[in-house]
Amino acid sequence: MNQVALIQRGLARRYRLEKRFKTYGLTAIVCSVAFLVFLLGTTFLNGYTALLQTYIAVDITILDSDFDGDPSEDLLSKGDYSGIIKRSLREAFPEATKRKEKSELYRLISSGAQYDLREKVVDNPELVGQTATFWLLADDEVDVYMKGRIDPTIPEKKRRLKDRSIAWIEQLRNQGRIKRNFNILFFTNGDSREPEQAGILGAVVGSVFTILVTMLLAFPIGVAAAIYLQEFARKNRFTDLIEVNINNLAAVPSIIFGLLGLAIFLNFFHMPRSIPLVGGMVLALMTLPTIIISSRAALGAVPPSIREAALGVGASPVQTVLHHVLPLAMPGMLTGTIIGLAQALGETAPLLVIGMVAFIVDIPSSPMDPGTALPVQIYLWADSPERAFVERTSAAIMTLLLFLIAINGLIVLLRKKFERRW
């Protein structure tokens, strides 16, 4: 009885402690969720407008004389479309007469609009000699203004979009000659100096190639290394040394791997700069320790009884591992791979070092083509002065997150497939 009383006396204190501990945990979770919501929220709020792009309708008359009087197939693509657009703009706003006014007028339309127009004319040669309304890509400043991100009340000197341009935009808006469309360009274009023409596709493709290379290199090598170390290597000083080194490598800053890649792949093997293949190889180096460590843990977690069972019926050690241990360890290995690849996908520093930070407009068509990667693209855009790049940066971040979710989803799916109870 005395003992019961003794226990009861302590109980209240124990429960209080428990409650306090739970509160700490809950607070921590609430905090992190709040940070996450804030991060994602601001990213989304900044970024969702990048999905829309402003277009301006301009009546354009294409004259035979624009092609030296002979609008043949060959010459159509050589026409001065920039001049055509400028002429049409002057016709639409005859009040712009001064040189400075004119150049301001021309700047309403993106410098990329001429290529769009050219394509349309080349596709439809009958347009020559006619007047038609074309929706032309607006300049990024116009776009930003239309999205309400330029405050017309601040002094004119402090903004790039002048009062005169704003007046023209308002005029166009009243005429219904301005509209916002879904921004396909963002998903189909490579990078560009002009924000309105800048797209994410180059970075996405670069990332896909990079991560593919990383996965194809790091997963098999990592798993093989883990299996050898865990299942076959004798325990001695040498394997201990290797183990310590692997653990240390996992903690080495990623930029060091970049420098390693620079020294080995670029300087020694003279591989091209800026290509996803090298990027992937460097990231594979960086990811390997993570994959090896988690794979070893997964192998170690497979109950030894399964190994004994397999050996007991006469399976060779390799058969034991391949038939029984590996399938059971696969979910754990894939989890490690997710972590490693997610880390690699978000890595910037090593890619900077091996030159994947170069300004590349073309979309890479193979891992051997120069390219960039999503996090590098984000870094580049975040560094750009143009107002329109802000939303694109956020949009790129969202794309990266989607990318991560996709990869995670894929591997979770794989893991589900392998997951079995024992």
Binding site: I306, L311, G312
Partner: protein, 286 residues
């Protein structure tokens, strides 16, 4: 009761070392060899690193004989039985000396193929350890691994036969494709036995096969052992005196890594010669 004096004089008169644990030349009481043995071991020493787990054990396994090994926990029964199919190879620190022969062939010689050895000397473990695969695959695995069947129907027959002999067929015949891990403990153990006998080994080693089972499942397995002994030699480690008495023809008593006594089970359980054996089986502290 003046028991001590009697026991002591008994020991002296039968020429039994009274202190086998400190006697480096201790000689096992009873007949360690049998004529036409399936497996012979001579002067086996086993070390785990610096620690010696088995001291100079010689023991034969007769043909179609059930040999039970008993002894206090940690006395080296598992270590010894695992030497017989080289299961100890998986332990880095384990070092085995002595002479172990299967049908006269040294199993630790270079010419001995471990895979073949384990196909000839099967093992059933203390904890049921079915593969996380279907019941069918569990039994079929070893068979197809060793290429013992030519086609699917032959394999089916072998699986069915093994499950029948393990006394499991009636319970699982309608769910062969369900996971073996979904069976009850006793069924799992019988599945493991079916897996072991499917490849028709010559000797089956069982390390406490019934330690996790209820009396009915235990009885079924004992019945199975009885039946298996018509065809195979069986070594069984058990902590149940009754089980050893029930299933085996010969019993070996291990104590702190030494084989103290071996003899016909009938004799060991009615009139053992060594006081340590007697102390152990009667539940006195020797």
């Amino acid at each position: 009761m003046n028991q001590t004096a009697i026991e002591f004089s008994k020991s002296i008169e039968r020429n039994i070392s009274d202190d086998p644990l400190n006697d480096p030349n201790y000689k096992t009481v009873g007949e360690v060899t049998v004529p036409n043995a399936a497996m012979t071991t001579k002067n086996v020493d086993v070390h785990y690193g610096d620690k010696q787990a088995i001291f100079n054990v010689s023991l034969d396994v007769g043909r179609n004989e059930v040999l039970s090994m008993i002894g206090p926990s940690g006395c080296g029964k598992s270590t010894f039985i695992r030497c017989l199919n080289r299961m100890n190879d998986t332990i880095d620190s384990c070092r085995i000396e002595g002479d172990i022969r299967l049908d006269g062939e040294d199993i630790y010689s270079r010419n001995m193929d471990v895979v073949l050895l384990r196909a000839r000397v099967g093992m059933v473990f203390q904890k049921p350890n079915p593969f996380p695969k279907s019941i069918y695959d569990n039994v079929a695995y070893g068979v197809s691994l060793h290429g013992l069947s030519n086609n699917k129907s032959e394999l089916d027959d072998i699986v069915e036969d093994a499950l029948k002999r393990a006394g499991l067929w009636d319970e699982v015949s309608d769910r062969l494709n369900q996971p073996g891990t979904g069976l009850s403990g006793g069924q799992q153990q019988r599945l493991c036995i079916a897996r072991a006998i499917a490849i028709s080994p010559e000797i089956i080693l069982m390390d406490e096969p019934c330690s996790a089972l209820d009396p009915i499942a235990t009885a079924k397995i004992e019945e199975l052992i009885d039946e298996l002994s018509q065809r195979y030699s069986i070594c069984i480690v058990t902590h149940s005196m009754q089980q050893a008495a029930r299933v085996s023809q010969r019993t070996a008593y291990f104590h702190l890594g030494k084989l103290i006594e071996v003899g016909a089970t009938d004799i060991i359980f009615t009139n053992p010669s060594h006081r340590l054996t007697e102390g152990y089986i009667t539940g006195r502290f020797g």
